[in-house]
């Protein structure tokens, strides 16, 4: 099994690891992990794992998409799974590859609605990491959710850059956050990895609110986090392992949304003081409508 960005990222690598640990405890499986550093050694490390005794190999992060697809074709008797796999139009996946994708737009829709109802200025912000379709999904859902509760809301959108480095540049994130807060936004949602830590710093400095991503980020800036849009990566990893063990794993793309409990928004003791009961009720009813299929959330910004 396998892991990028590294354990201890307090984000989805850690969540994936939690899924592995749960599988070890409940299903008695063994696992090993490798971490990649920058760049090109992904394929080599995947190959190393594929050549070993592992039954299923995980790539954590969309950067694995191409390499894991190539390896899955080369090792047809192994199972592969990739968290956040980027599906290109017209792609045919090998039958032994499971693409675990999340309907981030659905979770983002809910936090967008919450941000719009919380905002006093009528302006909210979004900070993305690398400007790619995956992150645009977050943006699209967030904007749609905000407009759903307040058609007049203004959403300021900024990205940190065009390369992977845009996910780990908190200095840039702080500047982007400050720029949006200064322009009148009072809540900012980030989908930018550790760049977002800079957005939280900007929120602290100007006493504004921010929304976390991937996992509950309350601990990173207590008191300044309105909520977080959580991807339930651990459950997805666990379920894939269980299916492998039972021999029921089928390849293809899994889209995990609100209905499948693949994405959630955080409402707990830490943030309930910030969210009035009526607002929570509204967000919950929007969630119910998405699950029922009455609201279809856009996943692109076009």
């Amino acid at each position: 099994m396998f892991d990028v960005g590294g354990r201890g990222d307090k984000s989805f690598n850690d969540a994936a690891y939690a899924g592995l640990e749960r599988a070890q405890k409940e299903l008695g499986v063994h696992f090993t992990t490798l971490e990649t550093s920058e760049g090109a050694d992904r394929e080599v490390q995947l190959r190393q794992l594929a050549a070993g005794p592992a039954k299923i190999i995980f790539g954590v992060g969309f950067l694995f998409s191409d390499d894991i697809k190539a390896l899955a074709k080369e090792f047809p008797d192994k199972k592969f799974a990739c968290v956040d796999f980027t599906v290109n139009p017209g792609d045919s996946l090998p039958p032994n590859l499971v693409a675990l994708t999340f309907k981030e737009e659905e979770g983002s829709f809910l936090v967008g609605a919450l941000a719009a109802m919380t905002s006093k200025t009528g302006k909210i912000g979004f900070v993305g990491g690398m400007d790619v379709p995956l992150i645009r999904k977050f943006q699209a859902g967030y904007v749609a959710g905000a407009k759903a509760v307040n058609p007049k809301i203004e959403v300021l959108v900024k990205y940190a850059g065009n390369s992977g480095a845009a996910f780990k540049d908190p200095t840039k994130g702080k500047e982007l956050g400050l720029a949006e807060y200064h322009a009148g936004a009072d809540v900012i949602y980030h989908a930018s990895g550790s760049t977002g830590l800079g957005v939280f710093e900007a929120a602290r400095e100007l006493n504004k609110l921010a929304i976390g991503v991937d996992k509950d980020q309350y601990e990173d800036a207590p008191g300044f986090i309105l909520t977080s849009m959580v991807k339930v990566v651990d459950t997805a990893v666990f379920e894939s392992i269980r299916a492998t063990q039972q021999g029921t794993l089928t390849g293809g793309v899994q889209h995990l949304g609100l209905k499948e409990n693949g994405v959630q928004w955080v409402y707990d003791d830490h943030n309930k003081a910030l969210i009035p009961a009526a607002v929570k009720a509204r967000v919950d009813s929007l969630a119910a409508e998405i699950i029922a299929g009455r609201i279809v959330v856009p996943s692109t910004t076009e």
């Binding site: 960005g5 590294g6 354990r7 201890g8 990222d9 307090k10 984000s11 690598n13 971490e35 550093s37 920058e38 400007d131 300021l156 959108v157 900024k158 990205y159 850059g161 065009n162 480095a165 780990k168 540049d169 908190p170 200095t171 840039k172 702080k174 500047e175 982007l176 400050l178 720029a179 200064h182 550790s194 830590l197 800079g198 710093e201």
Partner: protein, 300 residues
């Protein structure tokens, strides 16, 4: 107000670039290429966090960052000046070493491959008038911003108004001639590189103190931009700082214009385009110190 906020952002962004670029100009004027800026800054940034975390005193963090910059630069100086290793290779080696080392320490000490816990940042210096200015008041209360402004003048004066500066420049141009006059090429080059380490370490401290934490790879290529700025500034500390301010303004503009009608790809490239254009012509010929990159061998 908008203009002032913009100016504040431009200066904030340019501070770490300027510190590193001024450092590089001292190193290179003495004849040692300093492509190691990235590694010097990264080590400085981590050292600040460790110092501030252990003592809960931000100034102890700054002291640690200076020390880390100094030690890393000493490594560069030992290899390139004393052992006459290739300066580019050594510099790149130091960058790789710093990237790995900081991550290793981050995981060992803070049990995270992403970021450290929150540490204290530098307290504001409340100054009369300056601190109360609209838009730029917070900027002008930031100790390291004020220190950097002072250093622009001081480092420039060191290079062009002191005997040490004159000797350093002579050694970067014609080390054989300087040696004939009894100057120690080794000692001066060491001094240039070590001063560079101090300044780049301080740049790192600025990055992590502003964030109140260290994040893996947080320098994000800033050392290389600083090196380019130094060239645009023609190896002069003040010129390098001005080039950094230009770059900072371009980056602030890029941030401000995002979300407008400008195509985003072009916008993201804007700071680099401006740097390239400046390099390609508006500035005129940038001539490197004659002996930069060449190890000095008294035997030859």
């Amino acid at each position: 107000m908008d203009v002032l906020l913009f100016a504040a952002a431009a200066v904030r962004i340019s501070v770490p670039y300027a510190l590193a670029a001024m450092g590089a100009s001292l190193s290179e004027r003495g004849g040692v290429v300093c492509i190691a800026l990235e590694g010097l800054m990264l080590n400085g940034a981590l050292a600040y966090t460790l110092g501030a975390y252990a003592t809960q005193n931000p100034w102890a963090g700054v002291a640690c960052a200076l020390l880390a910059g100094l030690l890393t630069a000493w490594l560069h100086a030992e290899a390139t000046v004393r052992f006459r290793a290739d300066q580019i290779t050594t510099g790149l080696g130091i960058n790789l070493l710093a990237a790995g080392l900081t991550r290793f320490v981050l995981v060992r000490v803070f049990h995270s491959s992403s970021n450290s816990p929150r540490v204290p940042g530098l307290p504001e210096w409340r100054l009369p008038v300056l601190s109360d200015l609209p838009g730029v008041g917070a900027l002008l209360s930031s100790p390291l911003v004020l220190v950097t402004l002072a250093l622009v003048v001081l480092v420039h004066a060191l290079l062009f108004r002191t005997v040490f500066g004159l000797r350093l420049r002579a050694i970067g141009e014609r080390p054989e001639a300087a040696a004939t006059l009894g100057l120690s090429v080794t000692r001066h080059r060491f001094a240039g590189v070590l001063l560079c380490g101090l300044l780049a370490g301080l740049a790192g401290a600025y990055l992590s103190s502003e964030q109140h934490s260290f994040t893996d790879g947080m320098t994000g290529g800033r050392g290389y931009i600083a090196l380019a700025a130094m060239i645009v500034g023609k190896w002069n500390p003040m010129g390098a700082a001005a080039a950094c301010l230009l770059f900072g303004a371009a980056e602030a503009l890029q941030i401000k214009l995002q979300g407008s009608a400008f195509p985003s790809e072009l916008l993201q490239a804007l700071p680099y385009l401006i740097t390239m254009l400046a390099l390609a012509g508006f500035i005129g010929r940038a001539v490197a110190p004659r002996a930069v990159g060449t190890p000095y061998d008294p035997e030859s």
